[in-house]
Symmetry: C2
Subunit: 119 residues, 2 copies
DNA sequence: CGGTCAATGTCACCTATTCTAACATCTATC
DNA sequence: GATAGATGTTAGAATAGGTGACATTGACCG
């Protein structure tokens, strides 16, 4: 009898389902993994399997990308490197740069004024 | 943006996942469907897809089978045919029969005293 | 005991889904 | 225009899943 309680963290969803739930393409999902942003499990046959938390992460990535962030930025935001020299300040600088650098967003459809959090 | 809220009813799990979560075999899962006890959706490519509610149903079936019920019994229990002549009484009689008929359970491992509900 | 039925196992054959790797495209930036 | 980041596309191979048929097991019953 398996433990059904931890469904948020259990990897039960194949990539086809993830495509449906996130509206991302397989290419995108695999690329974000290659960039070290999601880490699905693998079946014995090497097929990726995702959890609901992975879905949330992917939707978050999608949202950040739409806001003009880079995958490298998002990676930093998700895994802040405390204790490493200059890293905190570097991240803050990147965020400041992003907020100043509205060029990407100006061309985009929705011109928003903030990111919901301030460095 | 898909609606992620109704995950209990959304069919997102392939049969391989269902096998893991229920500890049933593919043969059993498909047979219960053939007996009209579960009704998964199908992908465009004809692959079965299950929801969390389907998982619950399958675990319930498994439990009832372990208690000595027949798939036909379980179907009646799940879809009681009200309004049909004698059907209610028939089901009650079946339940009484099951409770009296301990032969199957005696051979089984766990000799239980009740079913949690009484007709 | 031999037959029957419900439930499950197993196998063969076919289709769908996913995998990796490589190359192409598009866009913003320098 | 060259570059880099993000994504599209395609080919070829492997895994996962589908159906259908036949075999097996264990109760039950005359």
């Amino acid at each position: 009898m398996p433990d059904i309680g931890d469904l948020r963290t259990r990897c039960v969803l194949p990539i086809g389902t993830v495509i449906q739930l996130t509206d991302l393409t397989a290419r995108q999902i695999r690329y974000y993994e290659a960039q070290d942003l999601v880490h699905p499990e693998r079946t014995a046959g090497n097929h990726r399997m995702y959890s609901l938390n992975h879905i949330d992460t992917l939707l978050e990535i999608k949202s950040q990308l739409a806001d003009g962030f880079t995958l490298a930025d998002i990676k930093q935001l998700m895994h802040p490197r405390h204790r490493e020299p200059n890293s905190d300040e570097e991240v803050r600088q990147m965020l400041r740069d992003e907020m100043m650098n509205q060029s990407r967003l100006n061309q985009a459809n929705n011109v928003r004024q903030g990111f919901g959090f301030r460095p």
